[in-house]
């Protein structure tokens, strides 16, 4: 270990707000992203709880229908654009991509800082839109979004800026991964987290401009009256859906691929065994990114596309399942004959696999045309994407936070509290969202402020689950704060991991490594006597 105990607070040593606002250190920028996105996760979570509260009663009780509509719009828009898209790539990715590949920083540190401040500008504009909050759902479907009185143009401009920040970050990462790898770090020695981040960055750079243009067109339609999407003036509302999903489908892989990368890191470390099928996991990330561009039409099977187009999109959609299944099989095979311990990062990684299997296996119901037509726009879809996005991405994010907390802060977390939080999150999540599969199959449409009484029981159960889930997340956050305040001093490599980021001090120094490391092996050589001591 090259960790230097004398460095003390490492990259955190410098104080004062200027040292943060003007920093070019990828680690500090990563930390700023993490704090910002976690704040929005909590705000988005509060909106979710308000939704669940209202749904305790079939009739409007606490809020008006319009207020409910605003809440689910803000819940979706914040969780998607301000939390789940940037959290892992811009937060953990910024911090750990250079450290994983043995670099001193990203390729363009100034651009990196710029992308953070563009992101901040974006969310300030989003906050400004709250004077007349959006009530369109996070999908902004026209013509409703072109007609509603809410600040659609403001919000879409905010998201336009956030998208720009996302493009800059993706570009920066692609160049960094291509050009700044340490000597000996060949493509097949790249950690799988980097493969995930690389695939994600490609999607960000290729797909995000489309949503940017779409939102510009929408703003033009609202502000100047140029009708792209309004049928009364010769536009086409279905065109908007094509544009929107051409971005918003690939973007779910922006969300999931980095989380899959984290899981691929955590599983071998805590199984003390090499990852099974490295190449298959690495290339399946690229395969998912590629296929992900060809399947956007599956959001529109009831939107008057021709049956033939529907059939083609359905067929292609099924092939996302193959590389995804390959990853799951490989993670499970990695456990085989391991020496497994269950610290909190591993608990969240195993939870990721457990929940993601459910999310994945409910995908074919929605990819198959006849069952899609039944289940589209019902709670079944809500359950499916929360299993993949929250059960998947967010659990992967939690795994990453617990795994890298000692590295980022130099402090250890209280493991006992972390496990209590995990248990609450696991139970709460399943109670909340599994119920939605049932109520969706029974026919309850989504985005309903009020519903017929026959769906009452499921909604009550789901709301109880959401309270348990929220409690778990609160305990986790409290544990993070306590860990920061009085956690035990973290050693350089508390999990005895082999990847490069652990070969620095905890917290790392400003330029990560005393000297640029030379790489002689892949990062998964666990379980050999020559490996690190247990």
């Amino acid at each position: 270990m090259t960790g230097n105990p004398e460095t003390g607070r490492g990259y955190l040593a410098e104080r004062g707000w200027r040292s943060w606002a003007y920093t070019l250190d990828h680690k500090r920028i990563g930390v700023m992203y993490l704090l910002t996105t976690i704040a929005f996760f909590l705000v988005g979570g509060v909106f979710a709880l308000l939704l669940r509260l209202e749904l305790l009663s079939p009739q409007a009780k606490y809020f008006s229908d319009h207020t409910y509509n605003v809440f689910f719009t803000l819940h979706g828009a914040m969780m998607i654009f301000l939390f789940i898209i940037p959290a892992i790539p811009s937060g953990l990715g910024n911090f750990f991509i250079p450290m994983h590949i043995g670099a001193r920083d990203v390729a363009f540190p100034r651009l990196n800082l710029a992308s953070y401040w563009v992101f901040v500008a974006g969310f300030l504009v989003v906050l400004a839109s709250l004077v007349s909050p959006m009530d369109t759902g996070w999908t902004f479907y026209t013509p409703y979004s072109a007609k509603t009185g809410a600040a659609v143009a403001t919000l879409s401009f905010g998201i336009f800026l956030i998208g720009m920040s996302s493009i800059l970050t993706g570009l920066n990462f692609i160049v960094t991964i291509h050009k700044l790898r340490a000597p000996g770090m060949s493509w097949h020695r790249l950690p799988l987290f980097i493969w995930g981040m690389y695939s994600t960055s490609i999607i960000q750079v290729v797909a995000t401009p489309v949503v940017g243009v779409t939102f510009l067109l929408l703003a033009l339609e609202r502000l100047v009256g140029v009708a792209f999407f309004d049928p009364a003036k010769g536009g086409d509302p279905v065109l908007f859906q094509h544009f929107f999903w051409f971005y918003s489908h690939p973007v779910v892989y922006v969300m999931i691929l980095p989380a899959m990368g984290i899981v691929s890191e955590v599983i071998p470390v805590f199984s003390r065994k090499p990852i099974f099928g490295y190449a298959a996991i690495a290339y399946s990330s690229l395969a998912i990114a590629f296929i992900g561009f060809l399947v956007w039409g599956h959001h529109m099977f009831t939107s008057a596309m021709s049956p033939l187009a529907n059939a083609i999109f359905s067929f292609l959609t099924f092939f996302v399942a193959v590389p995804t299944a390959v990853k799951v099989f490989n993670w499970i095979a990695t456990l085989y004959k391991g020496s497994i311990t269950f610290e909190s990062p591993m608990l969240y990684a195993l939870t990721f696999i457990f929940l993601f299997i459910i999310g994945g296996l409910t995908g074919p119901f929605l990819a198959a045309l006849s069952t899609n037509v039944q289940l589209h726009d019902t709670y079944f879809v809500v359950a499916h994407f929360h299993y993949t996005m929250m059960g998947g991405t967010v659990m992967g994010f939690f795994a990453g936070l617990h795994y890298w907390f000692p590295k980022m802060t130099g402090k250890m977390l209280n493991e006992k509290v972390a496990r209590i939080a995990w248990a609450l999150v696991f139970i709460g999540f399943n109670v909340t969202f599994f119920t939605m599969f049932i109520v969706g199959t029974r026919g309850m449409p989504r985005r309903y402020a009020e519903y017929v009484p026959k769906f009452h029981a499921e909604n009550v159960v789901s709301t109880v689950g959401s309270a348990i889930l929220a409690l778990g997340i609160l305990v986790m956050m409290w544990n993070f704060v306590q860990g920061l305040r009085k956690g035990a001093r973290a050693p350089g490599n508390p999990w005895y991991a082999l990847s490069l980021e652990w070969q620095s001090a905890s917290p790392p120094e400003t330029e990560n490594f005393h000297e640029v490391p030379t790489v002689t092996a892949w990062p998964y050589g666990y379980g050999t006597p020559k490996g690190p001591p247990a």
Partner: protein, 315 residues
Amino acid sequence: MGEILSFGAASGQAARVDTVFLMILVIGGFFFVLTQGLLIYFAVKYRRRRPDRDNETPQITGDYLLEFFWILIPSIVVVAIFYYGWLVYADLRIPPAGATDVYVNARQWMYEVRYTDGRTAINEIHVPAGKPVRFILSASDVLHGFYLPDFRVKMDMIPGRTTTLWVQPDRPGRYPIYCTVFCGAGHSNMTANLIALPPAEFAQWEAGGERGGPEGKGPEALAARGERIMKSAGCLNCHAVEGKKIGPPFKGLFGSRVTLEDGTTVAADEEYLRESITDPGAKIVKGYQNMMPTFKTTLSTEDVNGLVEYIKGLK
């Protein structure tokens, strides 16, 4: 199946959708048990028992044969699921001959129903049980949805377009219709009912109301309205019912395949007729000039529906 997770399927179609659902559930259930079983089994069996084993775990880095099979098997399984999903869907999209047509237009926040005989209703659709009924869907303001959970089908209602959906209620009953595309403050209260009556009762209901009278004296049949509009709006200056004029003829048009100027063919369905009236330049019939003006603003949705219904009758 339907009895456990949903409620009784209200049609043969719905039962077939339930079969696809059940098939995916069984296949998914198999993989669920397999993967979660192995995940939990390995996690328990290979938990760390003694620290020194950390340095002796086997160096298994992959197995090409295994990887080949777990790429191959899911590929076969998903193609099979796709195929059955498509098969049943194709059936959902093709209405049987002799289906009763009902026009439904959505606006914030109601469903306006118009029967071909001219009756209208709001949020209630009466149909005979045991016979296929086809909904011709449109929307006036924003997107809406038309979802019949008991029949396992839905279709979006899109301003400026015509979409269709058919069902065949096997037994009499009152079946809810929900709006599934978010449409504003009243979205979750935008519901309607499909009321399937036994044939005798339906005949009674059908005989009950006024219909077919000239304008101003009770409801006018849609086709009659179309015939009136066709004369008053000047359609027949350029078109003839039979025989080529400046524009193509109407007789036998509906349900035929029309060859366009670029050589492609298109089915002359309701959406084609509607588009040809409101956006005549979009598809030019081979052998004709693009010179018809749009009637988008001069004719109401009702007028266009009337014309469509009238042309449909010119067999």
